[in-house]
Subunit: 71 residues, 12 copies
């Protein structure tokens, strides 16, 4: 058995009408549909769309890290 | 009619006693008093004041982008 | 009496199961147990742990500034 | 007469269907409608939209510097 | 139907003998062979090879963003 | 009465034949001709012109922050 | 035959109990199980875990570049 | 006797009504009240307060390095 | 019992005549003399002294993170 | 024969009235008058002068790498 | 006669016992002994040595730009 | 005799088949063939070539500083 692991990071942009936290969770939820073993995220950028002088969507770019299976 | 647009970005610091999202919205609301067509924001910095060991104000620096009219 | 002050910044990582704001406050609360006169914070990094495709903890690195006493 | 000048920088996003250079020029042309004495630009970011796997618009963020009159 | 979308960014290096714009387009064209719904690109780095004191290839690193289907 | 304020930052380049501090003050003085309530500055870049192997002008880029009136 | 190539970069975190170089190699070895034509790596971040005041694992984030086949 | 030393860096904000250099020195003087063996400083950020369109205080963030005793 | 922890980061410069890894370990060893529960490190900067065209000392700046007790 | 090479990078600013690519080539051409074996370039900064609301010169800072002879 | 010029930047560290401005000037004076046509400088880093809790030397890293003759 | 010195930094890329430390030393050794008084180095970038899924060469970009003679 190996004494070390290798991880991969993917970069996603989650969006949400309600909060930065919700946009992060949406990115993670979407990522989990195709990747297992998600372990951590890092916020890279926070931005969003404005409609009628209101935040319409928070758009949060996150890097999501996961262990490569059998690594 | 032009086939391209030009946008301007202005940099504001919104503040709020309650949340980062509210500080962003406050900057956008203030900006909308003098500028139309706000389209997006980018968070540049998040900081705040502390009073009696509590966050007293979140201060969020945002760049706000809007289309220059008739561009 | 001096006409200037000196401040120190310390770097902490606050965590929270619920929100980025709560993680910031937790870092400040912990810091206030050993340091007085906390005046401001600056968010340096936002990341977190993921468990079962859900954010388990937000981990927010903040620099916290305080006045050095008698400076 | 003063022996020094003061300059201001504004941040614009020029766009173009054809090239990065054209997007820069479009931002400058738009800026010149309301500001005189434009002297230099600095490219801050280059990005763009994609439609049908083709670059539809280059979007180039530039800072444009100009001398403040009578400074 | 969801009221939000999730996007993924991938990082490619396009190259071209002729121009920076052509290198960007080459990266996008290659990316479109395996991914649908490409929406935007961000230039991360511009460099190139020199042969006999001439630019032989522009090499432009771009992040390309696309909507995750059914997100 | 609002319990929060909004601030705007503008970016200027002050110049001076004598010192970095003087260049900063020149930018602030010029800015104060058109804007009230200047509250703080942040140095972004320090550079200058050289003539006959002497610094001819310090050129200091500063962001200047001020409270938006009635915000 | 095309006169240019397109490359992709993926971001991995290799780990090792013994050295930074070994962590880089572990990331590359793992990557090579699913991707061919690996050509270069760029170190993005170096960090690690500490156990009993000893480095337990070096964790090196690398971007790994490879030629897209038939590009 | 060890053939190597370990240093620690602390981050302070010195302020001064007169100059950037004086703000740096004030931070160092304050730091020296509690720490010995100060060896070097690195300027991290220069900013300040404005009162009545004049620089009221320069605020210079410095990292100050010192040798850990007996290291 | 709290469901969250707070961590502190300190910044040290470890040095070594032999390797980057050894410089990191030296910083950690020195840090562990006064702080318990060291958990991770992040390399911030790698530099060194040269004597007679040989590396005399590697100097590696690391941030070391540890859990604040009872947090 | 050595199994490794050493490269040097020099930093130049090429200018051109016509395009970013031409400014890069001009820097390379000038560099090649005094240095052989130029191998690659990296764009560091893109800016330019404006005259009468038109780009008068693109000014592109590039690092140019070349193999040190006999290394 | 060419309608464009090429510039080179060199990186020097000037030092001074008295001020940041003096350290910049010292770097420029030294540079001018071997290079003609110095045109501008850019401050890259400001640091210094401390002796007996006083700034002993300011050390300012500057990039100095000059026109390549006959370019 | 002057009470201050001026230093120059040059940027080299050292390579090695065996380690990051060896690549740094190779850059320094090469640099010392033409320059005296090398005093320090700063690692700017670490990357390398991959052949057959193995690191073929570490390529470490370093800035090397040396005192300008008679400065």
């Amino acid at each position: 058995m190996s004494d070390h692991h290798t991880y991969k990071k993917v970069e996603l942009v989650g969006s949400s009408r309600t909060s930065i936290e919700d946009a992060i969770q949406n990115a993670i939820s979407e990522c989990s549909k195709s990747v297992k073993n998600l372990e951590w995220f890092e916020v890279v950028e926070t931005r969003g769309h404005i409609v009628s002088a209101k935040v319409a969507h928070y758009q949060v770019t996150v890097k999501i890290g996961f262990k490569i299976e059998n690594s």
